[in-house]
């Protein structure tokens, strides 16, 4: 029997990072991710690893940049307003093709918005957000176990592609406690960081390494790129490889479905409950839950639409992922939307409840 431990979603970030062999955490407090940074402050130094509380998210992400350039496994965590501040550093990480992990516990926006749950950062997380048109893999957990597992996967994918990877959680997943199997996951070998800046004398080739500006990135640290476009071509090739190889989703009771719900994060759990109730009424409803938000699992959703399924997108925002769903399906597909305006309370503690989703299902079918 495997041993299971009661863990909070935000703290599962820490367990996952430690199980992935994380060397350092750099972060700034922001609600609702404070229990992430507090976990690392408590647990990392005790394991001989590095923890630094930065003076801002701008600094946190540049510390991550430095740690990644030095070849170490490092991460930071934040929420909406802090994520906005990190865009400069994210763009620099992308420029230098550096592997790093960023965990975001989403809250409501815009501006200071609300410190409670929401899914309003989908677009700015999946579309880059900083200058320069880059792509980051984005993974969305829907349980505490999945937070723990996806953080480990994020470190693996970051090292596999030499690219930042984002774990997009939310205030519900971050603050609930569930039993989790805490163990190190094996994903396979990753390429050696032949570009890690360690001081010239510490490199096997004894040649200087520079992580400096355009045309010298992890992809081609020693000789640099001959032209700007050859540098762009390297990135284009990498992004296309990631887009083809790293699509992940969960299909739930969708085989015979007339209506397929698309939801990620905490609303996907609400939808599963609604689907359970709808099925007892004989309504054929299923769920496709994107686990990777970029690359987006367009193909399985399109396949359902092409077979005549209606689509319902449920997300706790005014509608962001719904654009990706509409782009994935044929023009004549019925795409319905249930968003944050259908929460059960008007203040920021309101939630999209299973009953609300069930009513929507009934109205469609």
């Amino acid at each position: 029997m495997t041993e299971r431990t009661l863990v909070k979603g935000n703290e599962a970030v820490g367990w996952g990072a430690v199980n992935a062999g994380c060397d350092g955490f750099f972060g700034y407090p922001i609600t609702p991710q404070n229990s992430v940074i507090e976990w690392f402050a408590r647990e990392l130094p005790a394991r001989g690893k590095v923890f630094v509380q930065s003076p801002s998210e701008t600094s946190a992400i540049m510390m991550v940049f430095g740690g990644a350039a030095a070849g170490r496994r490092v991460l930071t965590s934040t929420s909406g307003p802090g994520w906005a501040l990190m865009q400069e550093g994210m763009s620099h990480l992308a420029a230098a093709d550096l592997p790093a992990v960023v965990v975001i516990t989403q809250r409501g926006g815009p501006g200071q918005g609300s410190v409670r749950h929401a899914q309003m950062d989908y677009l700015c997380v999946t579309r880059g957000g900083g200058n320069g048109g880059y792509k980051n893999i984005v993974l969305a957990p829907a349980s505490v176990q999945e937070v723990h597992d996806l953080v480990q996967l994020a470190f693996y994918l970051a090292d596999k592609y030499w690219n930042p990877v984002i774990v997009l959680s939310d205030a519900i997943i971050g603050l609930i406690s569930e039993t989790v199997e805490l163990k190190a996951l094996e994903f396979g070998p990753v390429p050696e960081k032949t570009w890690a800046v360690k001081g010239r004398a510490n490199h096997a080739e004894k040649v200087v390494r520079r992580m400096v500006h355009t045309s010298v990135s992890a992809g081609k640290i020693l000789e640099g790129y001959p032209t700007y476009l050859s540098w762009m071509a390297y990135k284009d090739d990498k992004y296309k490889t990631m887009a083809a190889a790293e699509v992940r989703h969960e299909a739930y009771r969708s085989d015979d479905a007339d209506l397929v719900i698309v939801a990620y994060g905490y609303p996907s759990r609400v939808c599963k409950e609604a689907i359970h109730r709808a099925r007892t009424e004989g309504l054929k409803v299923g769920l496709i839950r994107p686990i990777s938000l970029w690359p987006f699992p367009a193909a399985p959703i399109r396949e359902k639409a092409e077979r005549g399924c209606k689509i319902l997108v449920v997300e706790d925002s005014l509608g962001q992922m719904v654009d990706d769903v509409k782009a994935a399906v044929p023009d004549n597909t019925e795409v319905h939307f249930l968003g944050m305006l259908s929460r059960h309370l008007p203040d920021d503690s309101g939630m999209i409840l299973p009953k609300t989703v069930l009513d929507k299902i009934r109205s469609i079918l």
Partner: protein, 269 residues
């Protein structure tokens, strides 16, 4: 072997395949700062383990040296250096930044690193303006100085007063060494080299953050010849920004002072 020859082979070897030449505009003193850093690193046998975190701007021309370098965001060098030093304490980690990078856009990371007493060395080349972008007002622009964004000269009513980074650094308990050098005379050149050596030694002795500001000529943006620039440094800039050491202490000094205060507070209670 002469000092210059060793420097050229080991540290100053210009990487011709590389896009950043180790040079500036005619009369620019940033490459001289780079050369001094290279000489001291080599004389202290630190060049092999050294990693330089760079600021954005002309000061980054030091990347042409045969030393590992990392460049991130404008003003983020102290953050990059912090992470590298914490993760690799055995490496010698320094930053090379301009005045705008260091004390304007990068003031937050700088002050936070000084507050934490990070065991790194920060070098700020101060040319009293934004050189790379064409000579705009910097926090270090001297009173009355004409820049492209102070066409009538820096006016205290609208632009306030210059920030004295080296003096500011000296006020931090986490900073063990702070000095300002200049390159207008051979005497100041040698003093600056001495300041750098002491600052580097502080990091080796794990005494906390060491800071060296170097006044550096920017003839094109000052609209002067190189020789006029040197005279202007001697006669105007150094009156605002005097050369000298502002702090040379041990980390233990800060600790004992702190404990002394705590003790006296305890007595009063």
């Amino acid at each position: 072997m002469s000092e210059a020859a060793v420097t050229k082979e080991r540290v100053g070897g210009l990487q011709r395949s590389y896009w950043l030449p180790l040079q500036g505009c005619p009369g620019c003193q940033h490459p001289v700062v780079s050369r001094l850093i290279a000489e001291v690193l080599e004389e202290m046998d630190l060049d092999g383990s050294a990693i330089i975190a760079l600021g954005v701007g002309c000061a980054a021309c030091i990347a042409g040296l045969n030393i590992d370098a990392v460049l991130g965001s404008h003003g983020g060098a102290p953050d990059i250096a912090t992470a590298i030093k914490r993760l690799h304490p055995e490496r010698f980690v320094l930053t090379m930044q301009g005045d705008g990078d260091c004390i304007a856009i990068g003031a937050g990371p700088l002050i936070a690193a000084m507050g934490r007493g990070e065991n790194i060395t920060i070098i700020m080349a101060n040319n009293t303006n934004y050189g790379t972008t064409g000579g705009q007002l910097a926090p270090t622009t001297v009173m009355g100085q004409i820049t492209s964004t102070t066409p009538k000269g820096r006016d205290q009513q609208t632009e306030g007063f210059p920030i004295h980074a080296a003096e500011l650094a000296a006020t931090f308990q986490g900073v063990s060494y702070s000095a300002r050098g200049a390159l207008d005379t051979m005497a100041n050149y040698q003093r600056t080299k001495k300041f750098l050596r002491r600052a580097f030694q502080k990091q080796l002795d794990r005494e906390g953050l060491s800071f060296v500001e170097v006044i550096s000529a920017c003839p094109p943006n000052w609209h002067m010849t190189p020789l006029e620039s040197v005279d202007w440094i001697t006669n105007v800039v150094l009156r605002e920004f005097p050369v000298g050491e502002f702090k040379n202490a041990k980390r233990a000094d800060a600790l004992s002072r702190q404990q002394g205060k705590a003790a006296s507070k305890g007595n009063a209670a």
